[in-house]
Amino acid sequence: MSLKLLHVYKRFGIDGTSNFQEALKDVSLEIEKGEMLAIKGRSGAGKSTLLHIIGLLDTVDEGSYDFDGMAVEGLDNGEAARLRNTKIGFVLQDFGLIEDDTVLYNVCLPLMFGSTPYKKIKQIAADKLDQVGIGSLAGKKAAVLSGGEKQRVAIARALVNGPDYILADEPTGALDTDNADKIINIMQELHREGKTIVIVTHDDAVANACGRVICMEDGRIP
C-alpha cells in the first residue's frame, strides 16, 4: 500500500490570457504506508497543488498517480469522492470548519455522507474529540474556539472516518508555538498508530518531526 506519482504535470490557465503556468513539472514521488513526510518549499513552489493531487481534490494533467494500487486516472468523480471520504483526512491551514455549526456537528460531517445511524456517528465523533483533548468543547460553536482548538477539531474531523492517510497543508501556519507543538505531538502520535502522514509546512519544527523531508522548487522535486 502506497501512493505513487510518476512524471506528474499540473497546469493552471492564467486569467485573461490563453497562457498557462506549470505548477507541477515532472514530479515523481512515492509515499510508503506508515511514512511521515514533510514537503517544504518557497511560496508558489507547488506544495499545495501537489497535496491536492495526492488527496484526490484535483487531477493531474499529465503523468500517472497510483493510489493504493488503483490508477487514479481511471476513477470517476464519485469514486474519488468516496476515497477522499474514507481513506483520506484533510487538515488545512485555516481549519476548513463550518463556523456556525457546533464542534460536534463539524466532526460528524464526514460520517454523515454514509448510512451510519446519527447516534453512532455522534459517539464516534465525541471519541475523536476526546482523543485530541477537546472533548469538553463538543457543544460549542466552531466560530468561538481559539485557533489551536479549531485545528484540533479539524484533526478530529480528519480522523473520524478512520482514514489511512492524513494530509495537512500548513497545519501550524496560523498557530503560536505552543499550539503548534500540540499539533505536532498529535501528528506524531497518529504516526505511531500507523497512519501515513503528509505535511506541507514552512515550519522547521514540523519538518524535523517528520521521518522524511522533501523540498520543492518551482514545481519540481530536485
Binding site: G78, D101, L109
Partner: protein, 384 residues
C-alpha cells in the same frame, strides 16, 4: 437520512434569507398570477372581435326616454324596411324542475352564427347537430352532456360551457358614434346562467319563459349596401348608432394598448422578481458555496453537492408555494386591481416552474463556480 440532516442544516443556517425568500416568493406568486390572468383575459377579449366578420352591421340603441317596448322599425320608411335584417337579444326567466330560476339570454340565429365566444368546454351551437334543444351554460353548474329539466316538462341539453368572466354579446350598453367600441356590445360577468336559441331558431327552442324582456340595443344588418346611408340617417333620429366595423377597430386598438401596457408591466415585474429572488438566492448559495467546498474536501462529490443544493432549493420553493396556496384566498381580495384576470390551474404550475428555474440557475451557477475552480482557492477567497 443523514444527508437530509445536512440539507436541513443548510436551510436553517440561513433562516433569515430563507424567510425573506419565502415572503418574496409568496408576494411574487400573487402578483404574477394576476399579471398572467390579465394577459389571458385580454387575449380572450380580443377573440370577440372575430365577431360579425364581413357584415355591414350597425349597433343601435334607442334613446333612453323611449319605452322598453319601443319598436324603431315601425317608424322606418317603408322603402327601407326590406333592406335590412335585425338581431336582438331577449332575456327570459325559466323555472327549473327543482324550483330554482334560470336566467337565460336568448340569441337569434344571426347572433349564434356570428358571435365568437371562447369556450371553456364543449361546443358552440354552430357545431351542434343533435335533436335536443341545445344550451350553453355560463359559469359552470352543470357540464356538457347533461340535461337541464324545466318545471313545464321541457328540457335542454348542455352542449358547451363558458366561464363566467368570458365576454359574450349582451347588447346592454348604448354606443355613441365615434367613440363606440365593441366593449359596449359585449359584457363579461353577465348575470345570466345560460344562452339558448330563440323561438323559431333552426336549433330548436324552449318555450314557457316567465318574464321576458328585450335588451336595450339591437343590431341592424344591411343587406342592400345602397340603403346603408339612408337607414343610418333615419335611425339617428331615434337613438345612437355606430358601425360594428368601427367598434371593432376601436376595441382592438384599446385592447392592443391595454395588452402592451400590461405586457410591459408584467415584463418589468418578471425582471424584478428575477433580480430579487435570484439575487437573494444567489447570495445565500454563494455563502453555501464555501460549505460545499468543505463538503467536497470531506468526500462529497460535486454531483452530490448539487443534489443537496437542489433539495435545499426545492424545499424552500415548495414550502413557500404551499404557504402561498394557503393564503392566496386571503390575499387576493386585498389586491383585486392586479387580480382581475382569468386564473387557470396551469398558471400555478407555470409560476412554480419559473421560480424553480430562477433558483436552479442562481444556486447551481454558484456551486459550479465552487466545483470548477480550485475549491480550496475559492475557500480561501471566501475567507478573506
Amino acid at each position: 437520512m443523514n444527508r437530509i440532516r445536512i440539507a436541513w442544516r443548510l436551510i436553517t443556517r440561513r433562516k433569515w434569507t430563507v424567510f425573506l425568500l419565502a415572503v418574496e416568493i409568496i408576494l411574487s406568486s400573487v402578483v404574477l398570477l394576476g399579471m398572467a390572468g390579465r394577459l389571458i383575459f385580454i387575449k380572450d377579449a380580443i377573440q370577440i372581435t372575430e365577431t360579425f366578420q364581413g357584415e355591414d352591421a350597425y349597433y343601435f340603441t334607442p334613446r333612453s326616454y323611449y319605452s322598453p317596448d319601443f319598436e324603431v322599425e315601425s317608424y322606418i320608411s317603408p322603402r327601407l324596411r326590406e333592406k335590412y335584417e335585425k338581431s336582438e337579444i331577449h332575456t327570459v326567466e325559466y323555472e327549473k324542475k327543482d324550483g330554482a330560476f334560470l336566467n337565460a339570454m336568448v340569441y337569434d340565429d344571426f347572433l349564434i352564427d356570428h358571435v365568437e365566444i371562447a369556450m371553456e368546454a364543449g361546443v358552440w351551437f354552430t357545431e351542434y347537430e343533435g335533436e335536443a334543444v341545445p344550451a350553453v351554460v355560463i359559469g359552470g353548474g352543470c357540464g356538457a352532456g347533461e340535461y337541464i329539466e324545466l318545471k313545464n316538462g321541457q328540457s335542454c341539453l348542455v352542449i358547451g360551457v363558458i366561464s363566467r368572466d368570458t365576454y359574450v354579446a349582451a347588447f346592454e350598453q348604448s354606443a355613441s358614434s365615434g367613440m363606440a367600441s365593441l366593449e359596449n356590445l359585449v359584457a363579461s360577468n353577465v348575470g345570466y346562467d345560460i344562452i339558448v336559441p330563440c323561438a323559431g331558431s333552426r336549433y330548436g327552442s324552449i318555450r314557457g319563459g316567465l318574464a321576458e324582456e328585450r335588451q336595450p340595443s339591437e343590431i341592424f344588418v344591411i343587406k342592400d349596401k345602397g340603403a346603408a346611408r339612408a337607414l343610418q340617417e333615419e335611425l339617428l333620429q331615434y337613438g345612437d348608432i355606430s358601425s360594428i366595423d368601427e367598434m371593432k377597430q376601436n376595441y382592438a386598438a384599446d385592447n392592443r394598448d391595454f395588452g402592451i401596457t400590461n405586457g410591459i408591466i408584467a415584463l418589468v415585474f418578471l425582471v424584478l422578481t428575477m433580480v430579487g429572488i435570484g439575487g437573494l438566492n444567489g447570495i445565500q448559495s454563494l455563502k453555501n458555496a464555501k460549505i460545499y467546498a468543505v463538503l467536497y474536501i470531506l468526500g462529497l462529490s460535486r454531483r452530490k453537492c448539487m443534489i443537496l443544493e437542489a433539495i435545499n432549493t426545492f424545499t424552500v420553493i415548495g414550502v413557500s408555494f404551499l404557504v402561498f396556496l394557503l393564503v392566496d384566498d386571503k390575499i387576493a381580495p386585498l389586491i383585486t386591481p392586479v387580480r382581475s384576470g382569468k386564473i387557470y390551474g396551469w398558471m400555478y404550475g407555470g409560476i412554480v416552474l419559473y421560480f424553480a428555474l430562477i433558483y436552479l440557475l442562481t444556486s447551481f451557477s454558484s456551486i459550479r463556480t465552487a466545483a470548477r475552480c480550485d475549491v480550496i482557492e475559492l475557500y480561501r477567497k471566501e475567507k478573506e
